[in-house]
Amino acid sequence: MRHVLSATVQNVPGVLAHVSGMLASRGYNIDSLAVGETEDRGFSRMTFVLRGDDRVLDQVRRQLEKIVTVVRVDDISSRNYVERDLMLIKVAAIAGAARTEVKELAEVFRGRIVDVAADGVVVEISGTEKKIEGFIELMRPLGIVELVRTGRIAMVRGSPPTREVTEAADGARPADSASARESLA
């Protein structure tokens, strides 16, 4: 099963290396990892996409939370959330029919052409994983020169995620949500 984990971490050197090293050394495979600063410069948010059964996911989450600089981890997969991936894709489309096709498809996908050169164009497109992959498939016959993606970022709709939601499920964990929230305040 595909899971999206959202982790709040202290914005300190080495935290990304620590997290990715832990995942690698324990043999967890991640599909995607995106990281950036949050509304508070002292903290960064990491969004992971990974596949595994509930037990694996539970372990990943607990191992992540064990890292001192990781403040909290939420598995938001089962919740109502918005997920986006940003892609830049360079397509070999010289002036003419091919380029027109790229332009039209980019519009259908609500993408934008951000660079035009003699031998190709760069399209910027954001959206869900499915949408991005759909666009890649359409561009493939035209000739993809280069492609880069940010990895998935995600956010729960409505009020911010509370810890109780993830806690309630296993009953094995103390309700320390109050202290976690305080420290984030």
Partner: protein
């Protein structure tokens, strides 16, 4: 007035190195095991300024220093502190840091580092030690601003000693050590993601355990290092006595429950007692307390305690359902959970008499045993003898890794926590001697005996010098079989006895290829008595059974550091044994 205040300000400035040492003292540290080098010289200079408050012990290898710090920590529960210079010095700490992580030992490792201006340039003796140690520390710091030192030291001690304890590395670039600052030792910590204080069991969970105990007909307690680390041995004993539930322990848990108690099942697992493994297999309720379902305990994990309802109490949430999915997982401080439980628990409704009788029968059928008719000295006998003659003394035992370690776990009777120090999770050969050194420094009034093997002791034998020069009178009971006995045992059992680099004497000796017919006294190698005497130790060798007891008394009654080299055969195997990945059905008794 202006002059006075300026004076006061300038007096308040001290070097970063002094802040480090002052922080150690403020955290109650009274001894540090530190080996100097280029990048840690300012720290050592600062140590000389605090000599009256903090004893500095110079090990003869950084690994020895780090394991000595572990010995200090394991025997007292207080954090052990070691220090090394950058590069090779720091790297020599790595094994002991990983070892502390595996066995949850509070350890503060301080390393010198090249100056911040040359970090990343492959400077002389530069190693990115924080990168190396990321996965094997509980936490780690590279200090790049001297004004962070006091906060980092506070956090390091807090993290190392709370929750599930573990090693914390503090890497200090040389220029940071000499920067002049005005320290603020009361600076708040900045640990928004660290909340060990929240780990208390809910009363409903405690009630569920009590209910499970009441229903049980064949309950067993499986207690681990967490009981000792969590200072919960008294609560464990109370639980067992109030309910009549027998207790088996992991290698890390030995000492958590007295070996001379009628409800004690001794150690379980690969080389555990037959009765402990049978009891766990037959149990209808298993209370797993401060344990992690290690593969050396469970064997084939799916069939471990397969007939029982399993309760797992541990302070580390990541241990829950990691190796074994259990019925009632509880993340809690073990002492807190057991204290709560003891307030409401009642003995099982059904009588446990049949269960106790069954266990007694198993105990009678298959006790830990050795061939008492053997004409020479068996390692097991030497340990049993030591156990007998030291039973009335305040004794701490350390061990290396291998057969002698397992036999010590089986034949030495541990009755109190923190008297058995063993590298259990990582299994580091060479642990015994430096750990004994650290324990003796921490507990000078105790008799500290390193029961060691001839393979293991060579790995940190340089610490003979430290013991002699720093006046640390530890005793070594060397069970010398001229082989790597545990590997030999596996060769015998699983590789048709083919000797593959497990004989420790000269390679032209027929024993090296398994073709010999025993080792004569004059062929023994090396001359451990000569080595020990060269380091200033009292030493003797013993081969005859009739000489053993007197020699053991001479060892433990000697005033200084002393070695007793016991010549034992290499043909004995540690039994019982459940082969790796096996179940109780695969148990080998002889």
């Amino acid at each position: 007035m202006a002059t006075a205040s300026r004076l006061r300000t300038s007096e308040a400035f001290i070097t970063g190195a002094d802040v480090v040492i002052e922080s150690l003292i403020r955290h109650g540290v009274d001894v540090i095991f530190a080996y100097p080098g280029g990048a840690s010289m300012p720290l050592h200079q600062a140590l000389t300024r605090y000599e009256d408050k903090l004893r500095t012990i110079l090990p003869r290898h950084e690994q020895g220093g780090a394991f000595a710090a572990q010995g200090y920590a394991r025997s007292t529960g207080r954090p052990g502190v070691c220090m090394a210079t950058s590069g090779p010095g720091a790297l020599n700490l790595v094994t002991a840091i990983a070892d502390a992580r595996m066995d949850s030992v509070p350890l503060i490792a301080i390393t010198g580092q090249v100056g911040t201006s040359v970090i990343g340039t492959d400077a002389f003796q530069e190693t990115p030690i924080v990168e190396v140690c990321r996965g094997i520390t509980k936490h780690h710091y590279l200090v790049t601003d001297a004004s962070d030192i006091a906060r980092v030291m506070r956090e390091a001690f807090h993290i190392a000693t709370t929750g599930r304890p573990g090693p914390v590395l503090v890497d200090l670039p040389k220029n940071i050590q000499v920067t002049q600052i005005v320290p603020d030792y009361d600076v708040p910590m900045n640990l928004p993601g660290y909340h060990p204080e929240a780990r208390k069991a809910h009363p409903e969970q405690i009630a569920q355990i009590a209910a499970a105990i009441q229903r049980a007909k064949r309950p067993v307690i499986y207690a681990g290092g967490g009981v000792i680390t969590g200072d919960a041995a008294a609560q464990l004993r109370e639980l067992s006595q109030r309910t009549g539930i027998p207790v088996t322990m992991t290698l890390m848990g030995l000492g958590a429950f007295p070996a001379d108690h009628s409800l004690c099942l001794d150690m379980l697992g690969m080389h555990g007692s037959v009765y402990a493994n049978y009891a766990v297999d037959q149990a209808d309720l298993l209370l797993a307390i401060g344990v992690r379902f290690d593969d050396r305990v469970t064997g084939k994990v799916a069939e471990f305690a397969q007939h029982g309802f399993i309760v797992h109490i541990d302070i580390d949430p990541s241990e829950i359902n990691k190796n074994k999915v259990v019925h009632l997982p509880i993340v809690a401080d073990v002492k807190d959970a057991l204290t709560q439980l003891n307030q409401i628990v009642e003995a099982p409704t059904a009588s446990l008499a049949d269960w106790h009788a069954q266990i007694e029968e198993w105990k009678k059928e298959d006790p830990f045993a050795f061939d008492e008719s053997y004409p020479g000295i068996l390692a097991q006998e030497a340990i049993a003898e030591l156990s007998r003659i030291t039973a009335d003394r305040d004794t701490i035992i350390t061990v290396g890794v291998g057969q002698h370690q397992m036999w010590a776990a089986q034949f030495y009777k541990f009755c109190r926590p923190r008297t058995w120090l063993s590298s259990s999770g990582l299994g580091t050969m060479g642990f015994g001697l430096p750990a004994a050194m650290g324990a003796k420094v921490a507990r000078p009034e105790a008799l500290v005996v390193d029961i060691d093997g001839d393979g293991s002791i060579l790995m940190n034998i340089q610490e003979f010098a430290t013991c002699n020069c720093e006046n640390i009178p530890v005793k070594v009971l060397l069970l010398n079989n001229q082989h790597l006995g545990m590997v030999v045992q596996w060769e015998d059992r699983f590789f048709k006895g083919n000797r593959a680099h497990t004989y420790l004497g000269p390679i032209d000796n027929p024993e090296a290829s398994g073709q010999g017919n025993g080792i004569s006294p004059q062929n023994r190698y090396p001359n451990f008595v000569g080595i020990a005497e060269g380091f200033g130790w009292q030493a003797e060798t013993v081969a005859k059974k009739s000489d053993l007891e007197a020699a053991l008394y001479r060892l433990i009654d000697s005033p200084g550091p002393a070695l007793l080299d016991v010549q034992v055969p290499y043909q004995s195997h540690v039994l019982p044994m459940i082969p790796s990945g096996g179940t109780v059905k695969d148990l080998i008794k002889r």
